[in-house]
């Protein structure tokens, strides 16, 4: 599949907030009420269109348990976007956001685009965190904010795509140094569908053409 860019995402947040379900909804368009616990990392990929450009999202879904965060951290590096997820029906998952955010900021590129996601907004009757609180937190820390439901698919598509738009915007503004793969962005090869983005040809292609 040809694409102009590939963006690397990570999904972080407490256990059980719906990280894997968000990914499943985005990549497979389905919902699994009880999802297997993520052990280590999971992986998903999908192509999206941003301003008529095909962009491949490579998404790393991480385990929520604190004990294995040392492993999770190694995936922060080299991510262009992060989905920081909490569960609107469990206040403690909102309370832990600062820890997650600090951790993500400390171990990733400073340009990483972070979107705050209040998931499970289909369960309004059990809501413990208001949307306003989420918004305020996002504003304070310079994050995009959205409430989603992996179950009904509400806003899921938008969450992933808005993040990609923001990243794409930063590329156009020249904020992202796309020659540095540690920023989580790779240039695709549009003419050669079979080549993968890691091949040496890709790199030399980029070097020859400069930034597009």
């Amino acid at each position: 599949m040809s694409y102009a860019y590939m963006f690397k995402y990570i999904i972080i947040g407490d256990t059980g907030v719906g990280k894997s379900c968000l990914l499943l909804q985005f990549t497979d368009k389905r919902f699994q009420p009880v999802h297997d616990l993520t052990i280590g990392v999971e992986f998903g990929a999908r192509l999206v269109d941003i301003e008529d450009k095909q962009i491949k999202l490579q998404i790393w879904d991480t385990a929520g348990q604190e004990a294995f965060r040392s492993i999770t951290r190694s995936y922060y590096r080299g991510a262009a976007g992060a989905l920081l997820v909490y569960d609107i029906t469990r206040r403690e998952t909102f309370n832990h956001l600062t820890t997650w955010l600090d951790d993500a900021r400390q171990h990733s590129s400073s340009n990483m685009v972070i979107i705050l996601i209040g998931n499970k907004n289909d369960l309004v009757s059990r809501r413990e965190v208001n949307a306003e609180e989420g918004e305020a937190f996002a504003r304070e820390h310079g994050l995009i904010f959205m409430e989603t439901s992996a179950k009904t698919a509400s806003n899921v598509e938008e969450a992933f795509i808005n993040t990609a738009k923001e990243i794409y915007g930063k590329i156009r503004e020249g904020v992202f140094d796309i020659s540095n793969e540690a920023n989580g962005i790779k240039l695709g090869v549009q003419q050669s569908p079979s080549a993968n983005s890691l091949s040496p040809t890709t790199k030399s292609f980029y070097q020859n053409t400069g930034c597009c």
């Binding site: 256990t15 009880v34 297997d36 052990i39 294995f68 040392s70 171990h107």
Partner: protein, 569 residues
């Protein structure tokens, strides 16, 4: 109708009797297990107890006692950690508002927190299997995991343990069902009723779980944990990535370099080229003992084989390679995304026994043949063999040394069969490869020094017991002594030698804390012998664990001596 009914019941008892007749090595039983014949067993949980050392094979008379002891252990453990603050005599000092960390109320709340943490995962166990939706099962699992966390505070509870426990409770429960079903029709022997007692579901599951965890705890160890009343959790101050300190990652890297690279160099290089390190998918494979990669019934057959192979579960490492090789064609043709997707959602395997057989073959090629139906056999080129020789004989990187993982217990097993191959290999290329020649020489010297040490040891043993008047025996002894000295001289004149782990393991070399060697060395040697061992203690212990033969004091002494001798330069 009566007859039709009783036939399976008779078979039930027959199976039990066959089990009680297995010898202490369980040879026949293990062969059956490796062929996947436990699928229909009604005593799988008992066989697992035998394989994992909770019951002594060959001594069925002991089984009731052993079972009783392990059940008592669990009951006492559960009782001892159950904090009941309502029974406290001094409510003014110890109450729910107390901030004292030693307060039983504080402990009570921490226990509750840990149980919540466990429950959160337990309710998500095998979402597709109804068995695990039962509240009774979930409650039992929470209790077992909680008890394990309290009995092993540094291990605590970590995500994934619940899925190691899941097949265990499933197997124990299945055996209970079989027993209850048979009991409705015939009067069962009392020993069966005792050992397979449906009232002891939690206790017997715990026994198995604890033993499995012992073997795979390396997959769950995390560095820098700090104690809290809830459990041991990573220090918040430890902000580093810490990934390199992780044992499970070290084990996977070891598998990649030491097992995969020589057996399937093309696949190894492909994964390296795509930048797909084994931990990306392998952490889950190891931590859950392949629980997500195969359907439950196949998984149980796989576990049968792992447990039957040996108690340190070495086979796990070879299974990883066998799994990779089984999908090698797909992987090699795939790009990054497809490769990763295949590995993270392992494709359905038509026959689990192919994976087992190939893993057994990789582990022990002289005993087990390549399964004929295993299609994706990688061709091993000479180049790869050379690579293998380098890895085996050259100085091990610090990384490998530091982390010979817990589960990787048998370098000897791995290396001894291939050792011969490498000799042939170097025979053919001897003249063109001075490096190899040197390595071969070092090998030869290791053998010589080992022989010398052994001879000296035998000499000492015989010297004590030989009749002083037996002239012939004494001349033989003198001959041995001379031969030993001759060989030792030969070694000392030559270059310094690296310690070859294969030899160490085979010779049951264990303790690096060198006692005085049996033969008094010269002063110069004495200095060297007191130097710290080059290998970390854990590695030595690992080697000790791997030997199935009991180690005698004499062997230890001789082994230490051999080790010191090998270290002499």
């Amino acid at each position: 109708m009566e007859d039709v009914k009783s036939a399976p019941c008779l078979k039930y008892e027959e199976e039990w009797l066959a089990l009680s007749k297995v010898d202490i090595e369980m040879t026949g039983l293990k062969e059956k297990i490796m062929e996947g014949e436990l699928r229909a067993s009604r005593f799988r949980s008992v066989i697992w107890r035998l394989l994992l050392g909770a019951l002594t094979p060959g001594y069925p008379d002991l089984w009731s006692e052993e079972t009783k002891a392990s059940r008592e252990h669990y009951k006492q453990l559960k009782e001892s950690i159950a904090v009941k603050p309502c029974l406290i005599s001094e409510p003014e000092r110890d109450n729910p508002l107390s901030t004292n960390e030693k307060s039983s109320w504080h402990q009570f709340f921490c226990d509750k927190e840990l149980k919540c943490l466990i429950k959160q995962d337990v309710v998500r166990t095998f979402p597709g299997v109804d068995f695990f939706r039962s509240e009774e099962i979930q409650e039992a699992m929470i209790s077992i995991l909680f008890c394990y966390a309290r009995e092993n505070p540094t291990m605590c509870y970590r995500q994934g343990m619940h899925e190691v426990l899941a097949p265990v409770v499933f197997v124990v429960k299945s055996d209970h069902h079989a027993l209850l079903h048979t009991k409705e029709q015939i009067t069962l022997r009392s020993d069966i009723l005792y050992v397979v007692n449906p009232d002891c579901f939690e206790e017997d599951s715990y026994t198995l779980f604890r033993r499995i965890m012992n073997a795979i705890e390396g997959s769950y160890l995390i560095p820098n944990v700090a104690p809290t009343s809830t459990g041991y959790f990573p220090c918040p101050t430890n902000a580093g990535t810490g990934a390199n300190e992780n044992q499970v990652i070290a084990q996977l890297n070891w598998i990649k370099e030491i097992l995969l690279a020589p057996s399937d160099p093309e696949l190894h290089d492909h994964l390296v080229k795509l930048d797909i390190p084994l931990p990306l998918f392998g952490i889950r494979w190891l931590r859950l003992l392949f629980g997500r990669e195969f359907p439950l019934q196949d998984l149980l057959v796989l576990w049968d084989a792992i447990f039957a192979d040996n108690r340190s579960f070495d086979l796990v490492n070879y299974i990883v390679v066998a799994m990779l090789s089984s999908v090698r064609k797909t992987l090699i043709e795939a790009d990054y995304t497809n490769c990763l997707t295949t590995l993270m959602r392992f494709p359905a395997v038509t026959d689990i026994s192919l994976i087992i057989d190939y893993a057994l073959h990789l582990k022990n090629p002289t005993v087990y043949k390549v399964p004929s139906k295993f299609k994706s056999i990688p061709k091993v080129s000479n180049k790869a063999k050379e690579k293998k020789t380098k890895v085996m004989n050259g100085p091990t990187s610090t990384n490998n040394r530091k982390f010979v993982p817990n589960n990787v217990h048998r370098p000897a097993q791995l290396q001894s069969p291939s050792y011969d191959q490498d000799l042939h290999f170097s025979d053919r290329y001897l003249l063109h490869e001075p490096d190899l020649l040197l390595r071969e020489l070092k090998h030869a010297q290791n053998i010589i020094s080992l022989c010398s040490a052994k001879l000296a040891q035998y000499h000492r043993v015989l010297e004590k017991s030989v009749d002083p008047n037996d002239v012939q025996a004494h001349s033989a002894l003198t001959g041995m002594q001379e031969l030993s000295n001759l060989l030792a001289d030969n070694v000392r004149k030559s270059e310094p030698m690296a310690v070859e782990p294969a030899f160490e393991a085979q010779e049951k070399i264990v303790s690096p804390t060198a006692k005085k060697p049996p033969i008094s060395p010269t002063d110069k040697e004495q200095v060297k012998l007191t130097q710290p061992p080059s290998r970390p203690r854990s590695v030595e212990m690992t080697l000790l664990k791997s030997t199935s033969m009991p180690i005698k004091e004499d062997d230890l002494e001789a082994a230490e001596f051999t080790l010191s001798l090998l270290k002499l330069s």
